[in-house]
Symmetry: D2
Subunit: 146 residues, 4 copies
């Protein structure tokens, strides 16, 4: 894979980034791809003859797109993070990608856009999980030392 502009921007960041640049860039880029795929899948679902069976898929796609969009924005601005806020948002993103991928899987046999979208969601949740496993983030459930 060629170096994306996301990684270039991180390399040019004027301060220390609190997490690994490779993991951060991967999480950011897959969140952005998920914004696209989830919006496209919602719109594709809407045009299908069986739209009435795709209601949950459309709703979960739109929720996932909104959460991934906010996550990509915060991940793109790693200066002056509140680590607990970022950790909780990325955790929420993992959950919404998981739920969206599961719903898309139900329609993947009949709708190729659902199959692709599920794959993009899974790539995003894997990259976000890898980011959370870095040392920077306090473990959830531990007393939060702000």
């Amino acid at each position: 894979m060629t170096e994306t502009s996301t990684l270039q921007m991180l390399d040019a960041f004027p301060a220390a980034v609190p997490v690994g640049a490779t993991e951060l860039a991967a999480a950011t880029d897959t969140c952005l791809a998920c914004v696209q795929a989830c919006n496209a899948c919602a719109n594709s679902d809407l045009l299908e003859p069986d739209v009435a069976t795709l209601r949950a898929c459309i709703a979960l796609n739109l929720a996932c797109a909104d959460i991934c969009a906010a996550t990509a924005r915060l991940l793109s601005r790693p200066g002056q993070w509140d680590l607990l806020t970022v950790r909780d948002l990325v955790t929420t993103c993992v959950r919404s990608c998981t739920v969206c991928a599961e719903e898309c899987d139900r329609h993947a046999e009949h709708h190729r856009h659902c199959a692709i979208c599920a794959e993009v969601c899974r790539a995003c949740l894997r990259a976000c999980t890898a980011l959370l496993e870095g040392e920077a983030f306090p473990a959830p459930g531990l007393p939060a030392a702000t």
Copy 2:
């Protein structure tokens, strides 16, 4: 207070809403007000002579605006929610409003926009907390029965 269009839209919703309409409308409207106040405060900070002391304030304002924007969108679409995703996003919103209000408080004496923004953030975190205290949301830390 006159009834906002948010409450009117909820009254016209064609399905059962899983949380109290009054609490949901209040959380949505204060999130939207927070998007405005946080963007305005970040922009105001930027134009202050002491911008160099307001870096954290700008960064936290922008993060809070992005999270409140995503939260307002999900709260505006209560059909087919994944309750755990919504609960976690609203919880993240409470945290980012808390952190943003605390930082704005530090500058409130010298910058009126910070004082107002801190108030708007606190109204948002109170409304979001009240929403989370409703019966609909599973308590955090309990095994998540998806």
Copy 3:
């Protein structure tokens, strides 16, 4: 109407605002209300038995919500505007609100959420039009002196 926090934030702005504060606050607040109403209407449409006849309404609602959200953000940060960009975005917002209101009108008799959403869109396009009529913005079609 009581003074909104939007107007308070504008009053506390540390620099000159290039447009009238009353008009700017009204345009910002109606854009935010439109983000809510359009997302809520799209979600309501999705749950209606006749969802298949509401496809255009859902799509136009989501487009209008996205454009109003971006507009509200730029209007909340009036420092260092590129006036032509802001003018063109607000003009685009007027168009998307017009198209969305027209589509919602077609379903207003059967779906109260469409009737309310059309009203909110019209309030937004009126406030945005009033903002554009201020002296600050160069007339469209004139050579753009950047």
Copy 4:
């Protein structure tokens, strides 16, 4: 370049797309890259010792990020477009990328993040311009046959 998920989603779209898929995917992907680069550049500017000279750069970066984000969302949902709205939004996006690139160019010698961001903005404005030059969009200035 390997096929992005954006192009795959377009290939799986269940209806005719009113513009060329290659041009549409390129405009979408460069808008998403621009959301990242502009947010990252604004945040980098904020941490620079000479932040006081970078105020316009930060403000224009944030505006460009918001407009590119809205554009990417609409471009990801090509079903049921109002062509004039999309044309005007993409045109606004071209303008904001142009203005942002010009401002970043002023700081490119001293700040590598500005140099990279200017390049990403230019890639986005080229892709958006190519999209607008397709036959689908009515020429601006012509009487708009809605």
